[in-house]
Symmetry: C2
Subunit: 454 residues, 2 copies
């Protein structure tokens, strides 16, 4: 054991292992997301784990500035690289995208659609369900100078398709426009960014603290009671899409508000035309989502039956992604799914239940591996050649032990020769471990029988 | 532009971007490797990017000790995590596997087969084709106390299947056994690990420096000329498998050598039974591969037509993977493909040619997107619903520009309504951009025609 204790064998807090069953569930989720992203015409872009700190800090706002990890060689040698000050771990996929687009703008075809699926690292204090390393799955589309609002709508349709296929239960995508909120708050006296932020925070917390508390908080910012009640009505009540537009169109809170209304109408119109089912989305004027970043459309999805989980996907439009890196105007819109953070919680809540510890459908087993070796290796080769993942039991062990191994691993079928049990020569036993039943077939019918039983 | 210059927009040396075309080629390669690993019954295991340094250094030999990056928060706050001394980036997938197996040995089913595909980071001085961050794709199988040599053979068959499917051209897997080399070198006077290492180095370099130079180097270690010539004969000449065994069986270099011969025979015997084509492997007594790590079987693959590329995959058996972490005897055998380092070189050499900048097969375009919007969005939805990746052109732009966009992006088919060109109502134009031909079909035949043209 040397100096390493059992406790040291746990990975550091916030950097967890995904054992086989969980890793299979994770890969399945990632596969679905990737497939839906690709179906919508998004192309992979792999940027490195490591970026220059000046790039990261040019775009890192608020808390994230305190969460960036730099790299340092633990035992540098004479010929070690000496550029440690240039090396920091990415905290999201959006800043690397901004850098990539700015660096390659001359060679890229716009609109540029890319997806990115991979780990990001944030130095947050680890707590329940908060991981320092987590996989994010993002899509973004970047325009050269302009980008139609139809892209915002397409994002919403992609989120809808992703969570339909993932089948975690009913979900709703809540859609808003930041200009609407900004215009409205400005018109009721929140004319500075500070005041607007406090007001948004108070309104965001209405579910937590209740109406009275929220009205008090708004009064403290200097909003009179009538305006404050008005704000709560507008921002926290639930309206049907049509009612929401009727309400919005009847209000006059200045030109930015009006622009927000008309953008939101355009986006919702295309969402409809894209065939997103009506129960999958609704207008929610309280959705804010990191407003220092997004400039107009914002959206986030939640599971209807698990509102406490919070947002399961979210995103929005940013006016100029690369404004620190390029003199070009490069508007974009994107969506991000915090895959591993979400899946850990879904597993914990029992919404996702990892079962099988393997991808294999068949275990090739043997009563006497030495004698039967060639025929068994051949069976495995045959199964694999038609695309059936197959594990071969290669150790010497009693057949009963091998059947128990298959059951524990979650392998459905075991294939073996019943040399002692009276099965005729040239025949193979195919046993369904789940239900404990088996058939004996001639080797010629082996493959089609296995296929039928899977 | 602020302070960030064009040069700063490049990712740091040794941490490269994979743009769309290269990323598609990379994902295809990773997909093939993953599929072959899963077909052989291997299950994913995701361990984190970050491990405790004491774990890494317990297993990091030689140069790698100088290449481990630790983490440090660049702007820590009052409530920041304070365990920086526990955080270092993994340099391979094998040490994390050792930790995981030791930590979970009570719950794991042995033999435990897992694959790991993901980035590792090494602080090497970046140079041509040497990346500090690279993706490794590993499989390993770990036994509880014992592990049949048939697993060593199965690894070789998996490598063969992987590179068959990858189709980078003819390749050969060179197989050896470390006991053979150790026994032989011991019998000719290399009785210390230092002498053996120098002798192996000299023999490894024979292609570089020639026979005379190598004999001189061996003489300096204290090996007499007869033994040295003998060594060169045995270790560097090419023999057929049968001739190699005839030769090996005729020599007596002590019990360790004899054990190596019999293990090698067992492995090659199973490789044959697994149906690996004879031209895909050969015995090569000079293959050493990080001998401080592996204990018996070792192998590595090379492309026959590109020997300068060096090893494209390699691995071997380690007697006790987790000896620093567990009192249990946990023998293992594994293989590793340095995916991104290899692919960068294959692209550079023109062996892999990334072409298309997209996964999409179809671009839905439009002469007048405003008028035709609904029908076009619907076409895209239809194509996606049957699994055809489809990009919609959502900006206003002349049709010719959209066709040029498709050609540049590498999208094969463009679908549009020929409102000006005389195509009847209810008809759709499907244009093959590659060959510049198009057909006009009724909307009812749209989907089957697209499928036929893909």
């Amino acid at each position: 054991m040397d100096q390493i204790t059992k406790r040291d064998l746990e990975s550091p807090a916030g950097f967890g292992d995904w054992g086989p069953a969980e890793a299979i569930a994770l890969d399945r989720m990632l596969g679905t997301i990737r497939r839906q992203y690709e179906l919508a015409g998004y192309t992979p872009l792999h940027t490195p784990l490591v970026e220059r700190p000046d790039i990261l800090f040019a775009k890192a706002g608020g808390e994230i500035r305190q969460q960036v990890y730099g790299l340092r060689l633990m035992n540098p040698a004479a010929d070690s690289p000496t550029d440690e000050k240039d090396l920091a771990l990415r905290f999201d996929h959006t800043v690397p995208l901004a850098r990539y687009v700015a660096a390659n703008q001359g060679n890229l075809l716009f609109p540029f659609r890319r997806y990115a699926i991979g780990p990001v690292v944030r130095g947050e204090r680890p707590k329940d369900g908060r991981y320092r390393e987590f996989i994010q799955a993002d899509i973004d589309v970047i325009g050269d100078d302009r980008l139609s609002l139809d892209h915002d709508a397409e994002m919403i349709s992609i989120i809808s398709n992703v969570f339909d296929e993932l089948a975690f239960g009913p979900f709703t995508i809540r859609i808003n426009n930041r200009k609407l909120l900004k215009g409205f708050l400005g018109s009721i006296g929140c004319d500075t960014e500070d005041k607007a932020r406090l007001a948004r925070k108070a309104i965001d917390d209405v579910e937590k603290f209740g109406t009275d508390e929220t009205l008090l908080a708004l009064a403290e910012i200097g909003i009179n009671q009538e305006d404050a009640s008005h704000a709560l009505d507008l921002l926290t009540k639930s309206y049907s899409t049509d009612d929401a537009f009727t309400l919005l169109r009847s209000r006059d809170f200045g030109p930015e508000f009006a622009e927000g209304v008309s953008e939101l109408e355009a986006v919702i119109g295309t969402v409809r035309q894209l065939g997103v089912p009506q129960h999958r989305y609704r207008i929610d004027l309280s959705v804010a989502r990191g407003l220092d970043y997004y400039t107009s459309t914002v959206y986030e999805a939640r599971l209807d039956e698990h509102p406490n989980l919070g947002s399961i996907a979210g995103g929005g439009r940013f006016d100029n992604l690369a404004d620190n890196f390029s003199s070009k105007h490069l508007p974009g819109v994107g969506v991000s799914i915090g895959v591993t953070r979400l899946l850990r919680r879904l597993i914990k809540l029992g919404i996702v239940k990892p079962k099988s510890k393997t991808i294999s459908s068949v275990l090739v087993a043997s009563n006497d591996f030495t004698v039967e070796k060639e025929v068994h290796l051949n069976r495995a080769r045959l199964l694999r050649s038609v695309g059936i993942p197959t594990e071969i039991y290669l150790e010497k062990r009693k057949l009963g032990g091998q059947l128990a191994f298959a059951a524990k691993r979650g392998i459905k079928l075991v294939v073996f020769t019943d040399s002692g049990g009276g099965a005729p020569t040239g025949h193979v036993v195919i046993r369904n471990v789940d239900v404990g039943q088996q058939v004996v077939v001639h080797e010629d019918k082996f493959l089609e029988t296995v296929r039928g039983m899977l």
